[in-house]
């Protein structure tokens, strides 16, 4: 099955036949066949960046990923803030049901990439994208996609916990509220399940109707995870979810990620190499707006194929 896909801004790209792969069984919105990563284009000249990025403008993707079925496919994706280019031809597939981390030094574009997946960058003026990004076979940046529905399938957890100024209960059921759910028993059921899912139920079950702002930072972050889970997304996007937390709270979140694994596809941006090593299946290393290397976490740490990856993993820069 060959098919040509028109990306949002770029030229039509030839899709590689991947029909041999199994469809992800928990992507109800998948309507088309899954397209794998397209051809890698050579990046345009980068001026001063060239020296550090060398001429390796293509991503090294480990073969292990080919056996995974992708949920989100990023294909030659570039992003510009006005005239400044923040992402350069990133191509990666986020495997279904696995935890994938994105690591790299500050400003390497990993958060930008994450926020591109649920189109939160739309809020910023003068943002322009090239290439394509697909979720369940649909082009995320196509004109006729329903962004609202897209975001409902892609839950997001932010760097700093951002509970809304309402009760714990109302926070958790907010995704249902905005869908007009009014049945008390449904709300209560989802609230309990989501809080249990976020390992928070026992701590807060007696004060569900107190303000969420009175919780500790770690609890707030788990509440935000519960809130994202309550929306029953396919994918959880996590933007450095532990960077504002103390080590104990961080450990709890990491345990939680382990438990959520399999249930959800998780794409997590992290600064913390140990965290990536402990919790994730795959790791993508980004540097200066490019995806340098992408492979199983263990391989990335023990036998990286790029010098830049090795330098970063061993702490030589970053």
């Amino acid at each position: 099955m060959k098919q040509s896909v028109m990306s949002a801004d770029g030229p039509p790209q030839r899709a590689i036949d991947m029909s041999g792969q199994a469809m992800p069984n928990r992507s109800p919105r998948v309507q088309q066949s899954i397209h794998g990563a397209g051809e890698k284009r050579r990046a345009p000249s980068l001026g001063h960046l060239e020296a550090v990025a060398e001429d390796e403008s293509t991503t090294v993707t480990h073969e292990a990923l080919e056996t995974e079925s992708p949920v989100v496919e990023i294909d030659n994706f570039s992003l510009y803030y006005g005239a400044k280019q923040a992402l350069f031809n990133v191509s990666m597939n986020v495997p279904h049901g696995k935890v994938t981390s994105m690591v790299g030094p500050s400003g390497c574009g990993k958060s930008t990439l994450l926020r591109s997946v649920n189109r939160l960058n739309d809020l910023i003026d003068h943002v322009r994208t090239e290439g394509s990004m697909r979720y369940g076979g649909m082009d995320i940046y196509s004109r006729n996609i329903n962004v609202i529905e897209l975001r409902k399938s892609l839950g997001m957890v932010f760097q700093k916990p951002n509970p809304f100024p309402m009760s714990i209960f109302e926070n958790v059921v907010y995704p249902l509220r905005i869908d007009g759910e009014k049945r008390k028993n449904v709300l209560m059921e989802v609230c309990e399940r989501s809080l249990r899912g976020a390992a928070l139920w026992d701590e807060v079950k007696d004060r569900l109707h107190e303000s969420a702002l009175g919780m500790s930072g770690g609890q707030q972050q788990r509440l935000c995870i519960a809130r994202a889970v309550a929306a029953s997304p396919d994918v959880l996007l996590m933007d450095e979810p532990c960077s504002a937390l103390d080590p104990i709270a961080t450990a709890k979140i990491e345990d939680l990620i382990q438990e959520l694994k399999g249930e959800y596809t998780i794409l997590i941006v992290t600064h913390n190499m140990q965290q990536a090593a402990r919790t994730t299946d795959y790791t993508a290393f980004m540097y200066l707006g490019r995806l340098i290397e992408y492979g199983p976490t263990l391989d990335m740490f023990t036998k990286p194929r790029c010098r830049q990856t090795e330098d970063y993993m061993t702490g030589r820069f970053g």
């Binding site: 609202i148 007009g180 759910e181 449904v186 989802v190 399940r193 989501s194 249990r196 889970v229 438990e259």
Partner: protein, 301 residues
């Protein structure tokens, strides 16, 4: 554990509700745009009407003649006395209000850091700028007009000064605060006293923005009517003696427009045009000069 039964009561999506969401979203977005347009339309309506009536009735006489009573030759005359009167009232008010207001502002910014006086002064200045101006007029009446025995220009000027002081104080404070501390430290390090530092370094640095703040205060009091009604009173004559009842543009406009005579009402339209023109100019100058610092400040009347 999150179980897979969790997904999802709402995933069995409710198309009707989705429609409702899309509808309400569009509706409220539209309402936000509409309310902005409505406010701008109201502004345009008010301004265009006032301007067109004003331009129709403005004439050279307006600036050169004083009011001539109805029925006399040359009626209705002009409003030169009121223009001069407003000018003098603002001048007198500034003589009192600007120095006091600036001193209070300097105190708030430079001296109040470890004094109990700072916070209440700042708070009271804020609250005072919200006091209904007619109440200020009554204060002026009780304090000055009653002891003197007649309405007079000084009372009017003081009432206006009363309104200016809190505005000038708070603007001065904010502007002076914007002067970088390094300037003060540099001056003190050179052996200057604090007073000298303020006078020679801080105030000159902030002078531009303080002047614009003062212009806003002037724009505000130029449009005030209520505090003048019982203090300066009204006069039909050109007068330079503030011990007498004193004419002002706003009070004259009020009396003319609520009076029975058509030609006096026409003078009032012309008066409004001049008044709004003056206030618009002051605001425009302020906006152009301090665009970066305080572009959103306005003097309300």
């Amino acid at each position: 554990m999150a179980s897979s039964t969790l997904r999802n009561p709402r995933r069995s999506s409710r198309p009707l509700y989705q429609k409702y969401l899309r509808f309400s979203n569009g509706l409220f977005m539209g309402l936000c745009v509409a309310s902005t347009l409505l406010i701008l339309a109201i502004l345009a309506m008010v301004m265009l009407y006032l301007l067109s009536r004003g331009f129709t009735h403005i004439s050279l006489d307006f600036f050169t003649k004083v009011e001539i009573a109805e029925g006399m030759a040359g009626s209705p005359g002009g409003m030169s006395h009121a223009l001069v009167g407003t000018g003098i009232l603002i001048g007198l008010a500034s003589v009192v209000g600007i120095p006091l207001g600036m001193l209070a502002g300097i105190y708030l910014s430079e001296y109040s850091s470890n004094s109990w006086l700072g916070a209440p002064t700042r708070f009271i200045a804020d609250v005072l700028s919200g006091v209904p101006s007619i109440v200020v007029g009554i204060l002026g009446y009780e304090l000055i007009v009653v002891p003197v025995g007649n309405a007079n220009g000084y009372a009017g000027a003081l009432a206006l000064a009363f309104i200016m002081i809190p505005i000038v104080a708070r603007t001065t404070e904010e502007m002076v605060r914007l002067v970088p501390n390094s300037y003060r430290e540099a001056s003190i390090a050179l052996g200057a006293t604090k007073a000298r530092t303020i006078l020679r370094v801080v105030l000159p640095t902030a002078s531009g923005s303080i002047i614009t703040g003062i212009m806003l205060a002037v724009a505000r009091v130029a449009g005030e009517t209520a505090p003048l009604l019982f203090t300066a009173g009204a006069s039909r004559f050109m007068t330079f003696d503030p011990q007498q009842p004193f004419p002002s543009l706003t009070v004259a406009i009020f009396l003319f427009s609520t009076g029975p005579f058509k030609d006096q009402q026409q003078l009032a339209w012309a008066g409004i045009l001049i008044l709004i023109g003056l206030i618009f100019l002051l605001n425009l100058v302020v906006r152009l000069t301090v665009h970066r610092v305080q572009s959103r400040r306005f003097a309300g009347a």
